[in-house]
């Protein structure tokens, strides 16, 4: 019986230790606030990535409120949990726009969730800030895309892997979760690789369902494929499937020297639960890494660490991490605030007009600019190699910010599409 009691005690102790701050920010009572919607999955397969973005929005809002708010009003966050459930994203958007009457929504990670929000946001003329790299092929008047378009992430990453320093890859495994972002990105990459003279037989495209956890067959297949020529893997696996995938890679002894894996959805946060020692040298392409050294980033990390500690954010209070989508979220909230101040109104159409050409000093070390027309940020591209401590070494970067091309020239018919939202 002692054993059981000891066990219970242990449970209680650990539980007390790890109680996360799962509390929605206190609602300000004053009626004179500007409501801001936060639409990130706090449960389900995407919670691994999205939860921290909710906290980033709350931090940015806290910071703005501490400086007096916007137009003399405090911002009031309205946090909802769409639970990695794509139709629920649409429902929650509707609720945010019609019931809560928020002025802007910060949210979504997966493209399938964004596609689900899009018709609602367009119909009700809402405003969405989307902070994650994505596949392009979309340009909505009601969305600002603060993450990377394919030419700001995927294509430079492939270029790097083809270069001598990147391993001069000749064969390619395009591995992804089965939904719109990986499928479209891989379509673009396939066309791009072909334009570089790679044959179809040297490209192997593979998909797994969301939440897939058994990567034995896939890793064995990659091993086999890589005997046919120098191989690189481009991974668009999303969510918590990355943990079993990287575990399997490590256990199977597939080393970065032999077969480098470059991931587009794996950052500091996703590597938290993984033993990174066997993964040293595998790559990620982003527009920001925590390890980038500059005063703006130092300050950003310091702010986040203090916020995480003060708000008892599980994981981050002991080991604060920042990543690319957090940076993009932070830029998004601040740019929206600047645009509201410029427009002197939270009216969606006025804010959209004011967003054009906004600039913000980004933690990635550049002054980030919102394009005058195409609703995307200009971004620098970095390639990082995983270090033993779960951080990234930047091994390559673009000389300066790159303008986004949401309509990739590697998809047929895109050359005729205008680089700005079409009025409907």
């Amino acid at each position: 019986m002692m054993n059981r009691r000891g066990n219970l005690k242990a449970l209680a102790a650990a539980a007390a230790l790890s109680v996360g701050s799962f509390v929605i920010a206190p609602q300000a009572l004053a009626a004179d606030t500007i409501k801001v919607g936060v639409l990130h999955s706090l449960s389900g397969t995407m919670a691994i990535s999205e939860t921290v973005l909710k906290d980033t929005v709350l931090m940015a809002i806290d910071e703005i409120n501490a400086k007096g708010g916007v137009l003399g009003k405090k911002l009031e966050p309205v946090v909802v949990d769409p639970a990695s459930n794509w139709p629920l994203f649409a429902e929650k958007t509707k609720q945010l726009l019609t019931q809560d009457k928020v002025s802007v929504i910060f949210g979504c990670w997966t493209s399938v969730s964004r596609k689900s929000v899009l018709p609602v946001a367009e119909e009700l003329n809402g405003l969405l800030f989307y902070p994650v790299q994505y596949e392009g092929e979309e340009l909505s008047k009601n969305v600002f895309y603060t993450g990377a378009a394919p030419n700001q992430q995927a294509i430079p990453a492939v270029d790097y892997l083809m270069s001598k320093d990147g391993g001069a890859a000749k064969r390619w495994v395009l591995l992804g979760t089965d939904y719109v972002y990986p499928r479209t990105t891989n379509k673009i990459l396939r066309a791009y690789l072909k334009s570089k003279g790679v044959k179809d037989s040297d490209i192997d495209e593979k998909y797994t369902p969301f939440g897939h956890s058994d990567y034995q067959t896939i890793v064995a297949d990659i091993k086999k494929f890589s005997a046919g020529g120098k191989t690189a893997v481009v991974s668009t696996i999303n969510g918590d499937s990355n943990v079993p995938f990287y575990k399997e890679l490590g256990n199977a002894g597939l080393k970065a020297k032999d077969v480098p894996v470059v991931a587009f959805s794996v950052g500091e946060e996703e590597l938290r639960g993984v033993d990174t020692k066997p993964l040293v040298g595998h790559l990620a392409a982003w527009n920001y890494f925590m390890s980038i050294k500059n005063p703006t980033n130092d300050e950003f990390i310091k702010k986040w660490s203090a916020y995480a500690k003060a708000h008892n954010i599980a994981g981050h209070k002991d080991k604060p991490l920042t990543n690319d989508p957090m940076e993009a979220t932070y830029i998004g909230v601040n740019m929206w605030k600047q645009a509201v101040e410029k427009a002197k109104s939270t009216d969606v159409d006025k804010v959209i007009a004011a967003m054009a050409g906004q600039t913000f000093k980004a933690p990635s070390g550049i002054t980030s600019k919102m394009d005058e027309k195409n609703h995307h940020l200009h971004k620098s591209v970095f390639i990082g190699e995983i270090k033993a401590d779960g951080q990234f070494n930047v091994v390559w970067k673009t000389p300066g910010p790159v303008k986004a091309k949401p309509w990739s020239p590697f998809i047929e018919g895109n050359d005729k599409k205008p680089d700005e939202p079409v009025k409907k």
């Binding site: 054993n3 219970l8 242990a10 996360g20 389900g44 939440g211 020529g229 599980a314």
Partner: protein
């Protein structure tokens, strides 16, 4: 290629005593060369573009001494830092000068030297070359294999030298292969032909890669046909490994399905409780493992690798306890009413998930493998079995045997069987049937907890862990035949193998769909499952 695990231990061994070995070999061979590592060299090796650094590396390798070897080992271990233009080796927080070996204070803001994959490959190859003359045959073998994997013409001379003095026949064979690998890119077609022929004896995927790379550039017809012949010889030899590999992944998935379904085979199979909360009991087992891991990390960091030994009983007890409470409070009022049981347990599953969410947060928690579960054992050139999978297969067997013995040999097992087969009779003979129900149900739940503990080692631990497995668990039990332990085993293994073999052909998404369709059709044709047996559910 050595498995990661072996490689890891090897590397620590190398770093501890290779210095001595390399020193010896260097002294033996390079005693005449007066040049030693200079601080200019260390700078050339650490600063600048990769191309220039690789050139510097090759130059340093031309006249190596023990300091060079030590410095390269430090580079390979990421133990080199720079401060301004000053290069330092930093081990265990102590800095030393790579040229003089003197201890130095570590300056503030010293930065790590960054090696990209290409640089790291070159450093490893250089270290291998330095070990070609080591007195330890095992180290020479490892070095030769590394050179066979990544042949480099600049190291041919060193290889020839080592070949001239090599006595060990096994190492010598590999050295000849390594030389052939270098010669494969020779400008002389005859040399290439001989190399292509010789390499047919090196039946590894790495050699396959070398031959394929050569084949894509080769112009000479004769060499081409020899390359193709060698490739098909190697492919034939590797086929076995591939087939066994697919089989192993199937068995591994089967063992997981078995673990997941065994608990349900008791609660649903024997007792007839449609337990929708089965997945959540696994989740509780996984979280118990997480908690034990956390406690070990906090209080017994030295014994961290042993935490699983405590986690196994802890996860069993945690889930069994929750199960007992459930049975006492809810389920015993619902026996014989399967629909209500289904709804009640589903509600409980939602409650448990939300409870865990508010206790531990909605995000996944990290459960780390103990170090003895990382890596794998290399059986064939292209077949390595990961330890964590092997451990889980063994664990599934252990649970299966334990449960079978418990049900068939013990007094509790006898009572459980008696009560499920004929309750009034068992009761008339003095068995406290209500208590037996509780025991049996908690046993099933405890086994679910064990499954959760195993799952925590290969996948994610989050509040909805159970949701991913509940369908699989029911699939296995229903397919195997309700109330039949043997059926559960066959069904789990069959589904695992079928899933993995299909995945190899059709991809993960289609394989999953195909398996589901198969089960639907099978249940249509044979509703009682693979094996049929009368249990309480049949009476109800």
């Amino acid at each position: 290629m050595p498995s990661l695990f072996l490689f890891g231990t090897l590397m620590t061994r190398i770093s501890s005593f290779s210095l001595a070995a390399v020193t010896l070999s260097c002294a033996a061979l390079f005693a005449s060369s007066a040049m030693a590592l200079t601080s200019e060299q260390t700078r050339a090796l650490t600063f600048g573009e990769t191309d220039a650094r690789i050139t510097a590396l090759q130059q340093a390798l031309a006249s190596p001494d023990e300091k060079t070897a030590a410095f390269m080992q430090a580079m390979a271990d990421d133990a080199v830092k720079v401060s301004g233009t000053h290069v330092l080796i930093v081990r265990d927080g102590k800095a030393s000068d790579p040229v003089t070996g003197d201890a130095q204070a570590l300056p503030e803001g010293a930065e790590d030297v960054i090696n990209n994959n290409r640089m790291r490959g070159e450093i490893d190859a250089a270290l291998a070359a330095l070990q070609l003359l080591s007195p330890d045959a095992a180290l020479r073998m490892a070095a030769t294999k590394a050179m066979l994997k990544e042949p480099d013409p600049t190291k041919l001379a060193m290889l020839e030298k080592a070949l001239a003095v090599e006595q060990n026949s096994g190492v010598k064979t590999h050295m000849l292969l390594a030389r052939a690998a270098v010669m494969l890119n020779s400008t002389d077609a005859q040399a290439r032909l001989a190399a292509a022929k010789a390499l047919a004896d090196s039946q590894t995927p790495d050699t396959q890669l070398l031959l394929n790379q050569r084949l894509s550039e080769e112009q000479d017809k004769q060499v081409r046909s020899q390359l193709e012949a060698s490739l098909s010889t190697i492919q034939a030899a590797l086929n076995l490994g591939e087939k066994l590999g697919a089989l192993f992944t199937g068995i591994s998935l089967g063992s997981i399905l078995l673990l997941v379904a065994l608990g349900l085979a008791i609660t649903y199979g024997l007792m007839g409780v449609i337990n929708m909360a089965h997945g959540e009991l696994m989740m509780i087992g996984a979280y118990a493992t997480y908690v034990v891991q956390g406690l070990f990390r906090q209080y017994l960091p030295g014994m961290f690798d042993a935490y699983l030994l405590v986690a196994v009983p802890a996860s069993f007890l945690a889930a069994a306890l929750v199960g007992a409470v459930l049975e006492r409070l809810v389920l015993r009022h619902l026996y014989g009413r399967p629909l209500e049981t289904l709804l009640a347990t589903w509600g409980i599953s939602l409650g448990l998930m939300q409870g865990v969410r508010s206790l531990f947060g909605a995000q996944n928690v990290g459960v780390e493998n103990p170090s003895w579960m990382s890596g794998g054992v290399q059986l064939l050139a292209n077949l390595s079995l990961p330890y964590n999978r092997l451990v889980i297969i063994g664990f599934a067997l252990f649970v299966l045997v334990g449960m079978t013995l418990l049900i068939s040999k013990t007094r509790l097992g006898l009572f459980v069987r008696g009560v499920t087969q004929n309750r009034p009779m068992a009761s008339a003979l003095g068995v406290n049937t209500a208590r037996i129900d509780t025991y049996a149900f908690s046993l099933g739940c405890g086994i679910a907890g064990l499954a959760g503990c195993a799952l925590s080692q290969i996948g994610n631990v989050g509040p909805d862990l159970g949701q991913n497995y509940i369908v699989d668990a029911f699939m296995v039990v229903v397919l195997g035949g309700v109330g039949q332990l043997a059926g559960t085993v066959y069904a789990a293994m069959g589904l695992g193998l079928m899933n993995k073999l299909l995945e190899g052909v059709a991809g993960a998404v289609l394989a999953k769909i195909a398996v589901l369709i198969f089960i639907i059709v099978f249940i249509q044709k044979r509703p009682q499952g693979l094996f049929a047996m009368k249990g309480r559910s049949a009476e109800a």
